[in-house]
Assembly symmetry: C3
Homo-oligomer: 354 residues x 3
């Protein structure tokens, strides 16, 4: 088959090596965002300051906010479902006064499914839009998109950047950014904080990226507890990455040992679709379930985070209701912060006057 041949020849994962993402170094304008590695500590400060300011202005219905991105267009290309990331990016662009285009009926109904490749699809979107929010099931897809968008320079009248909304088991940079923003927002700083990451730390790209961002704060004396079943431990290179940057880590499969001495509890969802082995999935699905009883063991000023959506790793619907009432649960604020962080990122990448 001709199409299969094409797919064999150009693999998204190859572009992780082939494409070198630009460092931000204080200047976001027209830079693709595909990995948290692009951000220095100072870049995070800039981003979060803008996000905080925009949050305040949205809350007070400042009419100037909805004029900032006037005349700019974002194309939303979601090759797999991700309601929160999708709605949050759309809301971010629209609250800035920009516009959003998306294939009617979703990309799954579009020409992509008639055999077109990613390189051509993102360049089609780039002919119409100024920024592309891309979600894709294959690792490296956002790198591939960035690579091919750069080939358009000088061929059309405008330029277009891609913001990754997550690519397979690869990266999900904006999720990690909003997670870190929420921790700093709730706890003011990372100094002397104990952060406990719980669940599938092997496949969870969110916790991988978050760990890398925490390591940006080298002198904060942050401690990170890594709680998972033995078979789903955090990859060695991430642990090493943390340790080299003076972040102390403890690895354990016993949550009760650490939950009482933790400032931030980061619960993760288990994404069945990321598992190649169903036995591994079953192991984790039953091992760590957050319940009101468990949360009762946490410190009074601890915060409970979760990237959502949640399934039974947070118990039954009745458990959900009880957890939601607990003031330590900040996952709704975390979700809302996602919009403000993405607004800030869009504003900086488009070079808007914020």
């Amino acid at each position: 088959m001709v199409q299969n041949t094409q797919r064999d020849q150009r693999r998204a994962a190859d572009f992780v090596k082939r494409y070198n993402p630009p460092r931000i170094f204080g200047d976001f304008k027209w830079k693709h965002v595909v990995t948290v590695e692009q951000f220095e500590r100072a870049d995070l400060d800039i981003l979060f300051k803008v996000a905080t300011s925009l949050r305040r202005r949205v809350a007070s219905h400042d009419p100037d906010v909805s004029q900032l991105a006037r005349g700019y267009l974002m194309a939303s290309l979601f090759f797999e479902a991700s309601t929160r990331t999708d709605l949050s990016f759309q809301a971010a662009m629209r609250r800035l006064g920009g516009e959003v285009i998306t294939p009617s009926g979703g990309v799954q109904f579009s020409s992509v499914y008639k055999g077109e490749n990613l390189a051509d699809t993102v360049r089609a979107a780039a002919c119409y839009a100024d920024v592309i929010a891309l979600r894709h099931p294959e690792r490296g897809a956002s790198y591939e998109a960035a690579y091919y968008l750069d080939t358009l320079r000088g061929r059309i009248t405008r330029q277009t950047v891609v913001l990754s909304g997550g690519d397979g088991i690869g990266e999900h940079p904006t999720q990690a950014l909003l997670d870190l923003f929420t921790i700093l927002d709730q706890k003011q700083s990372l100094d002397n904080l104990t952060i406990t990451l719980v669940g599938d730390l092997k496949h969870g790209r969110t916790v991988h990226s978050l760990a890398k961002l925490i390591a940006r704060f080298e002198n904060a004396r942050t401690r990170v507890n890594l709680v998972s079943p033995e078979s789903l431990k955090m990859p060695r290179e991430i642990v090493a990455y943390l340790n080299v940057r003076k972040v102390a880590t403890i690895e354990t499969d016993r949550l009760t040992d650490v939950i009482g001495k933790t400032d931030v509890i980061y619960w993760t969802r288990v994404q069945e679709e990321r598992f190649e082995n169903p036995t591994e999935y079953d192991a984790i699905a039953d091992a760590f379930i957050m319940t009101p009883d468990l949360l009762a063991q946490a410190q009074d000023d601890a915060i409970l985070m979760h990237p959502l959506p949640r399934k039974h790793e947070m118990g039954t619907p009745s458990d959900h209701d009880l957890l939601d009432e607990d003031t330590r649960s900040v996952y709704f604020a975390q979700m809302e912060n996602g919009m403000f962080v993405r607004m800030a990122l869009l504003a900086l990448v488009l070079g808007l006057e914020v």
Copy 2:
């Protein structure tokens, strides 16, 4: 299965009792709208006055209209298809200058279908949008949404209301509001009017809600003819509701007895998906078919309404063409009025200066 358990434990229909919708009493601001029971006669007057004003301003392309909702966002969550309600809500928000977000590819492609429950989905949308237009196949879904949206108070920086776009065999309040608006618009008042409701009056939530609204006009001496096959009669409680409020009713299965003495003919579509019993469906599908010959028996100043879409309950496409040419057919104006009534509702609920 874990998900099935979850679904068993939290049933949308339970929230019809558990959630008490706020009465409008002249103040629409930030109130959920899930049932026509929330509206007093005076509330209808306010709503329809605003709708009439907005209709005039849209017709004259008043540029200020498209500034009213600037900076506000509506999330459109349609868990079942309803082209008219969907497009009409979107158009309403956008003509006011507000923005709309909706899951790319529709909610059927979204995380909801991976097992997330309604309570979490509407709260996710609420983290990004100011108002949610919700269509759902289960009765009580909009009550459940309202209930859970209220749990977000104080947890995020903003608040969000839900407007029901119909929930299963439950309510479809905005349809009833636009229907009543159209009758008042065409006939000036309900005084001494004879209104004939025809078709499946058993399952037709639209005619249930409309009947309740007609009953708000207690001293109008309105008469309501209820025409249906014996097996698909209007529920007893609705007939009682009308009679208690001094609306005279006649129940019959012979349309020809009443069509010639009717000011308003309200034809209904038969929704096959609402029937549990296919025999009942077949009975109604063939029993009442509006044709040009039948319309010829109506008064010269009668009006023919239909919520649309229509199928063969309005005959063949050639019949459609002939009916459409008849000046008594007002269903296109009725459909357009839906946009203006929803604009008015959005404006009032968001507290805009109209």
Copy 3:
């Protein structure tokens, strides 16, 4: 079945005869656009002048552009996937400051699929929107839409026009307009130009429409080479249409005879879904493949066009990469021009001050 009967009784193709599209004659305002036959040479001049002006203003981020269509709504109804046309129409409307509504989840999820006919669906959209972008798999669908939209006059408070985004094997007028715009933009005029159309000239509605537009330039001494396999030749009536208007044509199945003496090479995609006979499809699929080696035979100042998406008629992904680097390849600029031409068409049809 009742629905089948309905479909039998009203066929889109019949409306090609039944509906007479209005000639533009210098006045685009509120005219449906369903065929290139509506355009005189002078109309093309007006349209392209506006497109050029809007392209310049978008490039310079002129803030007034995004105010032009304020308060106007476009409904996007795509009954078959066409990512480029879809995104391009949406982007065009939004860059003008207008708004877009589209059925959540796509029309394939909408009431249309519950048996509603096109006449009623487009009139529903017309009750909410000012302009409809329609893509449909059946020839004549845009004619049918135009016909029924006209029946709404006087029945609702506004009027609505349809712009065809392609209907089956029928017409795709905006594609032909953007193709001609690109040729004129790249080559300044058609005078003495040799244009080579390559591929499936039998089914390719794009090349049919483009040929008709080229024939509008009667005194330009343009030459058109028609290169296709014997079984997929340009229809006789189109060749006659060209010859009558003094456009010289050569028909051949040997590209190498003409490629070195050509100013414009228009490569076409082969749309498998348009073929009734799979043997015909296989013949063309392998016969004409554009590769870097083949392009090397073209003149230095030739341009290579393609409506995109492309499959293997432009070789492997590696071939794509090499072709893309060649400065003669203008298909990305061509794609971007689609947005500017559609912006111009929308602006003129809505009577905006451009």
